[in-house]
């Protein structure tokens, strides 16, 4: 077990042993965000994702992809195959996350029947042209930020922790600070507000639809808005299934090169 994993488990155990949010003792910012990262999301998942990019003027661009995941946080493997539009149909993308080091990434180009490794991404770069950046999708380590619990407040009738996260290394993120609204009952982040390096509003993330599927609170629709450009990206997750028993071999070049029909 790595040191990081041990710390994460210790934080979760410590948090579990503390009185409930309604009790006298509140969790710390780090404990809250660790529980967010470590919350139960199933051993694996398969879902069909629709990513819609919407300009300030309302023009829409849509792409669909099949997403398969194994593990979570910094020990996650993700396999993506694009289903549409037609010119990228079958293109595959495989990511292995590793604790404390750069991700391994593979790309499959069906027209060339070619699998190749690709360089580690700039984690601040846009994910397929959307308002989400690469690390929004792949995940950002809790330990990269300093987390402070600011207050508790209700958002849309739900009790939430409001946690401020500031990157320890200013160059490691596109934001200078982030406020997260974390539901107290299930530790799902339902809103995030990002500030840029000048401290001005940058982006707003909202969860628009949340359901429990197979006992797991599941985001079915979420939106990331760029507050400076008016552009936004909506993501919907359909046909969500957990704990399918996806084997390790699914997250290899063999299945990367075998796009779904």
């Amino acid at each position: 077990m790595t040191k990081r994993a041990a710390i994460a488990i210790a934080v979760v155990i410590a948090a579990a042993l503390t009185p409930s949010p309604s009790g006298a003792v509140e969790l710390s910012g780090l404990e809250i965000m660790t529980r967010v990262e470590q919350r139960e999301i199933g051993k694996d998942e398969r879902s069909q994702v629709t990513l819609t990019l919407i300009t300030k003027e309302g023009q829409r661009r849509e792409r669909k992809l099949l997403l398969q995941r194994q593990g979570k946080a910094d020990r996650k493997k993700v396999l993506i195959h694009f289903l549409s539009p037609a010119d990228v149909r079958g293109v595959g993308f495989l990511v292995w996350r590793h604790p404390g080091k750069d991700d391994d990434r593979w790309l499959f180009l069906p027209a060339l029947n070619m699998v190749r490794r690709i360089a580690a991404a700039d984690k601040r770069s846009s994910f397929v042209g959307s308002d989400f950046v690469y690390e929004d999708v792949a995940g950002r380590d809790v330990g990269q930020d300093t987390h402070t619990l600011l207050r508790s407040e209700a958002l849309g009738g739900q009790d939430c922790y409001v946690v401020k996260s500031v990157p320890k290394d200013n160059r490691s993120a596109e934001f200078s600070s982030k406020l997260s609204w974390v539901r107290k009952d299930n530790f799902v982040v339902i809103q995030e507000r990002y500030a840029d390096k000048r401290g001005e509003d940058l982006k707003l993330f909202t969860v628009d639809r949340l359901e429990v599927i197979q006992g797991i609170p599941t985001v079915r629709k979420m939106t990331m808005r760029n507050l400076q450009t008016g552009h936004r990206s909506e993501v919907t997750y359909d046909q969500v299934q957990y704990n399918l028993g996806l084997k390790d071999e699914v997250f290899t070049e063999r299945y990367l090169a075998r796009p779904p029909a």
Binding site: G58, R60, W106, M114
Partner: protein, 440 residues
């Protein structure tokens, strides 16, 4: 020169967006999830997988034109292409038939109208074994426009005249078996009949002709016998975070020899046997993608005494790729090719013939970017042969228009100090090309 120029990985996930209209964004809403209490999704109407059609029909319509940019200014192609891609997939088996219908009144080579089966194969997937039988694109190695272990057929005319990069590769009619054992992936490919590369011939594309007095040419392909069938083996696995492969190839060298008979003024073009042993590794080192590839060519002229046939050689490729900022990516490659019996080669070379150096060195650079939400994708590729002093430059700009529709505008430049070198011979073929594709 035997540089196995290679394949660009336009990593651009051509993630073309759609166009349409929706409501203008208003004030950021309160997340509705905050107002919901999660409830068990008993029946999710959208959770039912969509019923897929039994037969999928896809493809594209494409216009690809190329104009020679030097005198005589001339259209090298005005090609219209319809690709129909029929496929059916079941968990265990499937098939694919990808057929191109092509019309080009300015065709560089061949007829103005033709039908090309790009790929057509059956697949079968077992627990540990995958089979693919039929015409299929096969790509090996880690190089970017430098091929060492990939000896499968290529179309250099399409490449030179600005076709989309996938048309550099031609299909091989083959039986391919992949077996997966623990962390190992074993691939065996059987190709009954050698298929040669497509090289420039004729008048439209200039290229070096060592025998100007030749009046005729004769192509002699290996007889279609089992002994001349090609066999390729690859074993791959991850080692220490690096994707590593070992390669074996027994077949025919795609680069043929040219023999001139002064009595008949005829050039005989003849491919020769080639055995290859190779290895490659590719992986991340602190955010930089490192690649290495090695290949030893055991040619038919193993003694190295016939200057018309390639000498045995050792070939090495080293490469590094890194994302500079956002999606701007730079890569550099170094290639070294060592002719093993250079002394014998020189001793046997007729007087006056262009002489190859023992050690050949090539450097390439690529810069690519993806801008405006991945809808603008510029890329520049530079290749320079240090010994032959020739070069190749490809600069391209690709833009998405509507969902599934994109165009590309690019330029291919060739040059060099000598006419007989790989890229020096193409001086005069500099061209500007345009591609418009609508996929469906």
């Amino acid at each position: 020169m035997r540089t196995r120029a290679a394949l660009v990985c336009t990593l651009a996930l051509a993630l073309s967006p759609g166009r349409g209209f929706a409501e203008a964004p208003g004030e950021p809403p309160v997340p509705s999830a905050a107002r919901q209490t999660p409830k068990e999704a008993v029946a999710d109407a959208e959770g039912t997988p969509e019923k897929k059609p039994s037969l999928l029909i896809h493809g594209f319509l494409q216009q690809n034109s190329s104009l020679r940019a030097t005198r005589p200014v001339q259209l090298l192609k005005v090609e219209s292409r319809l690709q129909l891609d029929l496929s059916q997939k079941a968990p265990r088996w499937g098939f694919l038939a990808k057929t191109d219908f092509v019309y080009d009144p300015a065709a560089v080579q061949g007829s103005s109208a033709h039908v090309d089966l790009r790929e057509g194969y059956l697949t079968w997937h077992g627990r540990s074994l995958d089979l693919r039988i039929g015409k299929q694109i096969i790509t090996w190695g880690v190089g970017d426009l430098i091929f060492l272990t990939d000896l499968f057929p290529k179309d250099w005319v399409s490449f030179i005249t600005g076709a989309p990069i996938e048309y550099l590769k031609k299909g091989s009619t083959a039986v391919k078996a992949n077996y997966y054992l623990d962390d190992w992936s074993l691939e065996a490919i059987f190709i009954p009949t050698f298929q040669r590369d497509t090289f420039p011939i004729g008048e439209k594309l200039t290229h070096f002709v060592p025998f100007p007095e030749a009046t005729a040419s004769r192509l002699v392909l290996p007889p279609r016998t089992l002994a001349n069938a090609e066999l390729a083996l690859r074993a791959s696995r991850m080692i220490g975070g690096y994707s590593t492969s070992l390669y074996l190839f027994r077949g025919t060298d795609p680069m043929p020899s040219f023999h001139f008979d002064p009595a008949t003024t005829t050039v005989t073009v003849r491919p020769h046997r080639l055995n290859m042993v190779g290895a490659s590794a590719q992986g991340d080192l602190r955010g930089t993608l490192l690649s290495g590839e090695f290949a030893y060519y055991d040619t038919e002229d193993s003694a190295g005494t016939d200057p018309e046939i390639a000498n045995p050689s050792l070939n090495l490729l080293l490469a590094a790729e890194r994302v500079l900022r956002d999606k701007r990516t730079a890569s550099v490659q170094l290639f070294f090719g060592d002719m093993l019996h250079h002394g014998r080669y020189e001793a046997s070379l007729p007087t006056g013939f262009p002489r190859q150096r023992q050690l050949r060195k090539t450097v390439t650079l690529r810069l690519r970017d993806s801008l405006r939400r991945d809808t603008f994708r510029p890329t520049v590729f530079l290749l320079y042969n240090l010994d032959d002093q020739d070069f190749f430059v490809k600069a391209e700009y690709e833009q998405d228009l509507t969902p599934g529709t994109w165009y590309a505008l690019g330029v291919n430049l060739f040059g060099g100090k000598f006419r007989h070198t790989l890229y020096g011979q193409f001086r005069g073929n500099e061209n500007i090309y345009f591609t418009l594709r609508r996929a469906f």
